[in-house]
Amino acid sequence: MTARIACLTAVVLASTFGLTSAAAAESLDDINVAVDPASQSVVLGEAFTLQVTVTNEGDEATLPLVLHVDITDPQKSTSVDPEDWTSTLSKAIGIVDSGSSLTVDWELQPISGGDFAVYAVALAAGAETLSPSNVLRVTVQDQRSLNPGGILPVAIGAPIVVGGLLLVQMRLARRSPRVPLAGTPG
């Protein structure tokens, strides 16, 4: 009788432990993801580095994690294609032990001007939740100038050169003597 109760207790405890373990493994609530800096101001085309730090505040090691970066334009309520900003959308960082942190660098290069929100998300295969980071506010200034790409000298100079040649030619044509036709007064 005692043995049966012990076995039953062991089975119940084992099941409970198993369920608890499964729940902890599938939840990323104990994972803290932070991006740094909190704000960034760049000129169009200027690259900057985003640091993503993953901290495991739980009691157990995480599942193998994947970090994903996303970019959105809050003013237009649309998402920007992250592939325009970076060639690497996701990075696998493996398991993070309990109490440990892992930092990953991301190179981003904006391709259009405006105010954007950049954030990172930690995911794991089989996990029921994901862990988002804080938001990095990025301000990208357009490069508007009177001489975009250095084209202004050519855009102005070429017509001036061709027009000048035409004017010279017309003046030379006016100065050249007129030959009278036969039978007409000169």
Partner: protein, 262 residues
């Protein structure tokens, strides 16, 4: 025999020289070139300004400027060649030309060379624009190559086409209208939506057409950054068209008529 051959070969050069003088030492050639330059300047500036606010547009801007340079440059050459024979006919100077000791074939070849100089001049004007705009995205050498090779073959084909049309047209107005209409018809497929041009039949149609083939080459190499070896096929129809239309233009020289000027 040797004297006759050398006179024959010199004949086309005499005609070409005279046509070049008439074209470039009168206001005609430079006026057309000025129009081309002004259009290209405006377009290049607007395209560069747009590329300044979105880096992905920089390559597309270069592609647009190269395509427009090819289209406008070949149009300028076409206008000159379309006037070559029919213009003489209207001005009443064709008879004087036909009674010269220069063979009719050499007259046409000389006029073809002179009309091609309009494309060469347009190319010289377009090169600085393309070089400056293509420097940013790093496609300068590809852009120049597309302009010279692709654009050159398309220009050769259309110049010969204009001359052939001019040979059989009794008035300059008819010759110009017909030549420009044919150019617009040939350029139309390049403006088709991508769905139509990417289908099997659409792709064959684009490749078979020398004008759309040349413009597609510019788009693929410069905007889509496809390698040259994958796009050699787009040079076949412009090359064939240049050879065939030049042969037709020369063959039609034997049938030159005075028309209304008689």
């Amino acid at each position: 025999m040797t004297t006759k051959r050398s006179e024959s070969s010199a004949g086309w050069w005499v005609i070409a020289k005279q046509e070049l003088i008439d074209l470039w030492f009168s206001s005609k050639g430079l006026s057309v070139l000025l129009g081309f330059t002004l259009l290209l300047s405006a377009l290049s500036y607007l395209a560069s300004a747009d590329a300044g606010i979105n880096l992905l547009d920089a390559r597309e801007s270069v592609g647009v400027v190269v395509q427009v340079s090819i289209a406008l440059g070949t149009l300028a050459a076409l206008v000159v060649s379309a006037d070559a024979i029919s213009g003489e006919r209207e001005r009443g100077t064709l008879e004087a030309l036909l009674v010269t000791p220069v063979a009719r074939r050499n007259i046409v070849i000389g006029k073809l060379v002179a009309a091609t100089s309009m494309w060469v001049a347009a190319l010289v004007v377009a090169l600085p624009f393309v070089a400056v705009m293509a420097d940013g995205p790093g496609v300068a050498s590809e852009a120049v190559l597309v302009l010279v090779v692709g654009g050159g073959l398309v220009a050769a084909a259309l110049t010969a086409l204009g001359l052939a049309v001019s040979s059989v047209s009794m008035s300059n107005r008819t010759s110009l209208a017909a030549s420009v209409a044919i150019l617009l018809l040939l350029a139309a497929p390049s403006q088709l939506p991508s769905i139509a041009s990417n289908g099997t039949l659409g792709a064959v149609f684009v490749k078979a057409n020398p004008v759309s083939s040349g413009l597609k080459l510019a788009n693929n190499v410069l905007v889509r950054q496809q390698p040259w070896p994958d796009n050699w096929g787009f040079l076949i129809s412009p090359l064939l068209a240049a050879i065939v239309l030049t042969a037709i233009a020369i063959a039609l020289s034997d049938r030159l008529e005075l028309g209304g000027a008689r």
